[in-house]
């Protein structure tokens, strides 16, 4: 039975007012939008990324939600090609196979033809299912000059124990297509001379290839008392297909001195002045990981500490320790210091260089991202919540990466040299969170 009219009449009697139906609370904001502008800049003129992103959520009531993510990245700058520094000027054929570029003596060769714009869009829907379940499903797409990604994901969560415990399972599948400039280099083939537009560059195969990635995630969240939440995730990832970086190369060196083997371009041609081989990686990779995170509210200050361990069949094992502390500054301002430490072991097929006249390994890469490596990030975020409930924030972070080739892959003179100098990056982000 409806009691509203009787209740409203009684309320008016109590308050001594004339009954009215004057309530206007319908215009609830429908969209919740997190937008951000990010600048990421590496030291020594390496990669720069300018990124604009927005995450929009629309609430349809009854826990039914649509999420949309949109981002545009503009990447410029240079990244290490994998070749080692030399006492002489080094010349390389550019990825297109049409041009050459040179690296001064004593410097780490960077491939400076790196310039790209990435566009990404994804959507996700979630809603309750039966009484204690929530389902979500999404699609994602991203595109850049030489790379396309499409992916789909599905997840299910269930609440237990008066909703103090949540278990979740998620599955994601992605198919990526790689279409490198100048075609796909044949694995461990030699970089040839630059050729004119009417010829195809040497040692190149099909124009594109693809890889498939399956991710499985199991999550457990437990509310531990009034102020503490624990989260544990187990993850499994299986990638297969073309996992090589088509732009990465390895230097071929003297097996005794470790110095670059010289090469002379064909008469009338321009091309590499050293012997460089395109890298080769296995066509599958399986990763397993565990992540644990604790959040605790100390009377308004929220501390979050997380640890991740990951291992894979490329023998890259990593540890990540990360922490954030949200400190209310009174009023509607807050500060959030952030620190992160990351460490990994080198992939089993990581090589600093390849020894001349030795049998070639099946797989080899000189990509520093697959070497022994550690990285530290420290940062600070400042946020302000406006009277209207919107929030803007500014975040500044410093990143320092230290990579070191394992001694057993170094040859001769390489042992005494600094092979991979540390590099730094700065991250500056402005965010605005608002409702429409």
């Amino acid at each position: 039975m409806k009691i509203g009219a009787a209740l409203a009449a009684a309320t008016c009697g109590l308050l001594g007012i004339v009954p009215s139906v004057s309530v206007a609370a319908d215009a609830e904001p429908k969209w919740d939008i997190d937008s951000a502008f990010l600048y990421y800049g590496e030291s020594d003129g390496r990669v720069k990324d300018l990124s604009l992103s927005a995450h929009a959520t629309r609430d349809f009531g009854d826990e039914r939600k649509l999420g949309i993510d949109l981002s545009v990245d503009s990447l410029t700058g240079a990244s290490p090609s994998g070749a080692i520094a030399s006492d002489d000027v080094q010349t390389f054929t550019s990825p297109s196979g049409r041009d050459t570029y040179s690296t001064p003596a004593g410097e780490i060769p960077l491939d400076d033809t790196f310039l790209d714009t990435r566009f990404a869009l994804s959507g996700n829907w979630s809603q309750p299912f039966a009484r204690l379940y929530t389902v979500n499903a999404g699609l994602g797409f991203s595109s850049e000059y030489d790379y396309q990604h499409i992916g789909a994901n599905f997840g299910l969560t269930r609440d237990f124990n008066q909703r103090n415990t949540t278990l979740s399972a998620a599955l994601a599948y992605a198919q990526d297509t790689i279409k490198p400039v100048g075609g796909l280099p044949l694995p461990l083939s030699q970089m040839g001379d630059a050729v004119s537009d009417d010829l195809s560059p040497g040692n190149r195969g099909a124009g594109n290839d693809s890889k498939n990635v399956l991710d499985v995630l199991l999550g457990f969240t437990q509310v531990l008392g009034r102020h503490t939440v624990l989260r544990v995730n187990l993850s499994y990832s299986d990638s297969s297909g073309y996992l090589t970086d088509p732009y990465k190369i390895l230097s071929v060196v003297d097996p005794v001195t470790g110095d670059l083997i010289g090469r002379t371009p064909a008469p009338g041609a321009s091309g590499p002045t050293g012997v460089y081989l395109f890298e080769s990686r296995p066509d599958s990779r399986r990763k397993e990981g565990i992540y644990a995170e604790m959040r605790h509210d100390f009377a308004g200050s929220v501390l979050q500490v997380g640890y991740r361990y990951s291992t894979d069949d490329w023998e890259v094992d990593s540890h990540t320790l990360e922490s954030r502390l949200r400190l209310p500054l009174g009023g509607s301002n807050y500060l959030e210091p952030h620190a992160r430490y990351y460490q990994q072991t080198a992939a089993s097929f990581y090589r600093y260089s390849l020894a001349n006249a030795s049998p070639l390994p099946e797989f080899a890469t000189a990509d520093a991202r697959l070497s022994d490596m550690s990285a530290v990030t420290v940062g600070l975020k400042y946020g302000h919540v406006t009277a209207g409930g919107n929030e803007w924030s500014a975040r500044l972070e410093f990143y320092r990466q230290t990579a070191k080739a394992p001694n057993e892959v170094l040859i001769g003179n390489q042992l005494g040299n600094t092979q991979m100098p540390d590099f730094n990056a700065v991250i500056l982000q402005f965010g605005y969170h608002f409702k429409l």
Binding site: I3, A10, G13, L14, L15, V23, D297, G389, E391
Partner: protein
């Protein structure tokens, strides 16, 4: 409450004068769209005085007010003033409309239940011993005289704050033509829309541990919002979270009550009654609010960002 704590802080921000004070056990706020500081201070003072007057008169924590007098009589009749009589009439009507679920005599059950986030669950015998003291139907109410059975108590805790919001909002509307929002610990009402016909944007607190954003924003151009929730008041028992909403019929917390219910209605008292009655329906809270066809927001889940 000591007299020293009864002060009003006035500050200016976003084109509004904001008055802050404490009353009824929580923070209270007045937002006034007024340019002139003395006029704003006058409105805030009127609202604060109204809140403190109602707190003094109807708080169950005082020993010198009408509620204490009624509760101390142990079976003797008490004649009450007109305002108290109106509140008792209202309580009697809501008791009837809710089939006995809303009951201003259920406060004695707090002797058994302490909702401080702790783990103590009272024994059934302890609750059963109190149940004979609960029940509006055992009260003799013949306006303006009320007679309680010995040991029974009444408590306006379920009405008082929302009633105070409505009274204070009415006085604020009489004192100024500027738009005013009166917010007593999350229960709020507005005198009118802001200048330029803009609504007041109001945040409803989330139920997450360490929530940073308001869980929901509501644009309120007229009327009131009331919220009932158990973010801070609950008992944790063998992994279960028991809401602070007690069913007077069996003396136990309502099972599967939402974590928080917010309702929009023309008055805060009206909205507050609907949130309380919805909470009392436990799993049926949403169905009740849908039947009543009122604007409502229900939060059940611990959302972890």
């Amino acid at each position: 409450m000591s007299a020293a704590a009864r002060n009003v802080e006035l500050s200016r921000g976003d084109g509004l004068w904001i008055g802050r004070f404490r009353a009824m056990g929580g923070p209270c706020e007045v937002l006034a769209e007024i340019t002139d500081e003395p006029a704003a201070r006058n409105v805030v003072d009127i609202v604060a005085a109204c809140a403190w007057r109602i707190e003094d008169k109807f708080s169950r924590y005082r020993s010198d007010n009408i509620v204490a007098r009624i509760n101390a009589t142990a079976g003797a009749p008490v004649e009450v003033d007109e305002e108290t009589a109106k509140l008792l009439d209202f309580a009697a009507l809501v008791h009837r409309l809710s089939d006995g679920m809303f009951d201003i005599t259920s406060g004695v059950l707090r002797k058994a239940w302490t909702f401080d986030g702790g783990r103590r669950i009272p024994a059934r015998a302890e609750i059963d011993a109190l149940l004979p003291l609960v029940g509006w139907s055992k009260v003799l109410w013949a306006r303006p005289v009320i007679t309680l059975r010995p040991g029974m108590q009444i408590d306006f805790g379920g009405i008082g704050k929302e009633y105070a919001v409505d009274q204070a909002t009415r006085l604020a509307g009489q004192a100024t033509g500027g738009a005013v929002l009166v917010n007593f610990g999350g229960d709020l009402a507005v005198t009118r829309a802001r200048d330029g016909d803009r609504p007041w944007r109001v945040g409803i607190e989330g139920v997450d541990a360490g929530a940073q954003h308001a869980a929901k924003l509501v644009d309120l151009a007229a009327g009131a919002l009331a919220t009932s929730g158990d973010t801070y008041r609950f008992v944790q028992a063998s992994g279960q979270r028991l809401s602070h909403i007690l069913d007077p019929r069996d003396g136990c917390p309502v099972r599967d009550a939402p974590r928080s219910v917010t309702v929009a209605a023309p008055t805060c008292t009206n909205a507050g009654m609907l949130t309380t009655l919805a909470m009392l329906r436990g799993p049926g809270a949403e169905a009740f609010l849908q039947t009543e066809e009122v604007r409502h927001w229900v939060q059940r889940q611990e959302k972890i960002r």
